[in-house]
């Protein structure tokens, strides 16, 4: 399988965020947020609605420029980089609301995700040079391999909008993996899945985490998922960290219970 070359020393963090603050007009969505993710970790990010979780992901993936603070991916500061450059550093993500390219086949969705490491340009494409043919063959092979691993090969030529919701979620994750990231950000991957699919998702994420040897950071409101998967969970509210610890610690943290978990009697 496609193994990630580990270019940095084992312990230097994959992601390092210091003093991150993001304001929208008068609203501070994220304030003084810090985190360090080490290679191979699987970390959770939870918090009430509107706490700023997605905003943190958006900042990491370069979609927003932070008002303050610094983000480093594998030691490289990402300030001022456009999202595709950040992706090239090894950050891939999925979206809270699925954002697949709906009129392109599943296979093409995966292929386009290789854009950052294409290895050829416009002139190669139209002149169909040797480089082009070799790279294109390789991209296609890798894409099909990935689909096969995830048992999606039967859907290679389908367009995503015709797929069931659960599969769309899966395709989105596979697309993110196609970028061969070092860090995978999952924004509510279980949203809209039923209990059975959620179980399957848990297995899938764990399997990815092990097989691909990558760091995963995920947002999720399904507590089962978080409890089962995460080694460490960070809880934020109003853009500030209110708790951090193992799932067990979080589950019993009083502040987390009042702000987030609530009382499950109906």
């Amino acid at each position: 399988m496609t193994q990630q070359p580990v270019s940095q020393t084992e312990n230097s963090p994959v992601l390092e965020i210091r003093g991150l603050t993001q304001r929208f007009g008068g609203l501070t969505a994220v304030s003084d947020f810090n985190v360090e993710l080490h290679p191979g970790e699987l970390v959770g990010l939870i918090g009430p609605n509107g706490a700023g979780k997605t905003t943190v992901f958006n900042l990491v993936s370069g979609f927003y420029q932070p008002s303050e603070g610094e983000i480093r991916v594998c030691g490289v500061p990402t300030t001022g980089l456009k999202p595709h450059k950040v992706t090239a550093l090894g950050v891939a993500r999925t979206f809270q609301n699925i954002r697949l390219w709906n009129d392109m086949s599943v296979l093409d969705n995966i292929r386009v995700a290789r854009h950052g490491k294409l290895g050829y340009g416009f002139f190669h494409a139209v002149a169909r040079t040797r480089t082009y043919r070799l790279r294109e063959a390789e991209i296609e092979r890798e894409a099909r391999e990935l689909l096969e691993i995830f048992k999606l090969d039967g859907y290679a030529d389908e367009v995503p909008k015709n797929l069931p919701y659960g599969l769309q979620r899966k395709v989105e994750i596979v697309r993110a993996l196609a970028e061969k990231p070092k860090l995978l950000l999952l924004d509510e991957p279980a949203a809209g899945l039923n209990s059975v699919d959620v179980q399957e998702l848990i297995r899938l994420v764990r399997w990815i985490h092990q097989t691909f040897d990558i760091t995963i950071w995920m947002i999720e409101h399904h507590m089962d998922v978080m409890m089962e998967l995460c080694e460490r969970i960070k809880v934020i509210d109003f853009g500030q960290t209110i708790a951090e610890g193992t799932p067990e610690e979080i589950r019993n943290h009083p502040a987390v219970i009042t702000a987030y978990l609530g009382d499950d009697t109906i």
């Binding site: 929208f24 939870i46 918090g47 009430p48 609605n49 509107g50 706490a51 997605t54 809270q96 609301n97 069931p164 919701y165 659960g166 509510e188 949203a191 809209g192 899945l193 039923n194 209990s195 059975v196 699919d197 959620v198 179980q199 409101h221 507590m223 009042t258 702000a259 987030y260 978990l261 609530g262 009382d263 499950d264 009697t265 109906i266």
Partner: protein, 241 residues
């Protein structure tokens, strides 16, 4: 019987999505539809709300009755206006270019002039204090969960007596999810009839009086919540163990 669906078949273009399903909702009940992704839950709700193609399906066979009368020819706006039936659609579908306040205000479009709106606003803001805080924010910049609150709040503002909800807990933090379910229960106790579609089948059945299990466009099982919760097949296929 307040609302009944009889042998309903619907199509999207040439694709048949429902293959003759029947279910009913009695006045004052909470009924839930559960089922795997793509089973046809959303489709059923669209059909009841009389939404039109291209996004909604076309009824090809069967009937939908409200207090015994067919509503197949009712305009979707009249479903709200005359039958007092509101749908919280899947994916929120709030009006992002309007403020929170305007979204709520718009939902009162079809209400009588002298309706007591203040009470309804109060109820919505009590339920979702965050909405009151963000009253004048353009709603498209709300977080996912906040948008879901707005979608539910908006439906309540239509002054409906029957509430159709399509996965209302999607994207909500647990604390809010439970809060929402408690509110639904309370609404029901105040006389609201509720038809709930929910992925979290366990939670839904805990709330509902009765339920139907949908499977690829047909009804696979039905019964009271206790029956369904106790049904081993349902347990295996939909409750995740």
């Amino acid at each position: 019987m307040l609302l009944s669906v009889e042998n309903l078949e619907v199509k999207y273009g040439n694709i048949q999505a429902l293959h003759g399903i029947s279910f009913h909702v009695n006045e004052g009940e909470i009924v839930t539809l559960i089922g795997a992704n793509g089973a046809g839950k959303t489709t059923s709700l669209y059909a009841i709300a009389r939404l039109r193609p291209p996004e909604a399906p076309r009824v090809t066979k069967g009937d939908i009755r409200f207090r015994g009368e067919s509503i197949l020819d009712t305009r979707p706006s009249d479903v709200v206006r005359k039958l007092h039936l509101a749908l919280v659609p899947e994916g929120r579908r709030i009006f992002g270019n309007l403020t929170v306040q305007e979204n709520l205000q718009l939902a009162t479009y079809a209400r009588e002039k002298n309706a007591d709106l203040d009470k309804d606003y109060q109820r919505v803001f009590d339920l979702f204090p965050r909405l009151a805080e963000r009253r004048n924010q353009r709603s498209e910049s709300l977080s996912g969960g906040e948008q879901q609150m707005l979608a539910v709040g908006r439906a309540l503002m239509t002054g409906c007596k029957i509430l159709l909800l399509d996965e209302p807990s999607m994207g909500l933090a647990p604390v809010l999810k439970y809060e929402l379910f408690r509110t639904l229960k309370q609404l029901n106790e105040e006389g609201m009839t509720i038809l709930l579609v929910e992925q979290n089948a366990k939670l839904a059945l805990e709330l509902a009086h009765r339920g139907y299990v949908l499977d690829t466009g047909t009804i696979a099982a039905e019964g009271t919540s206790e029956e369904l919760l106790g049904n081993p097949e349902v347990k295996k296929a939909y409750l995740g163990g």
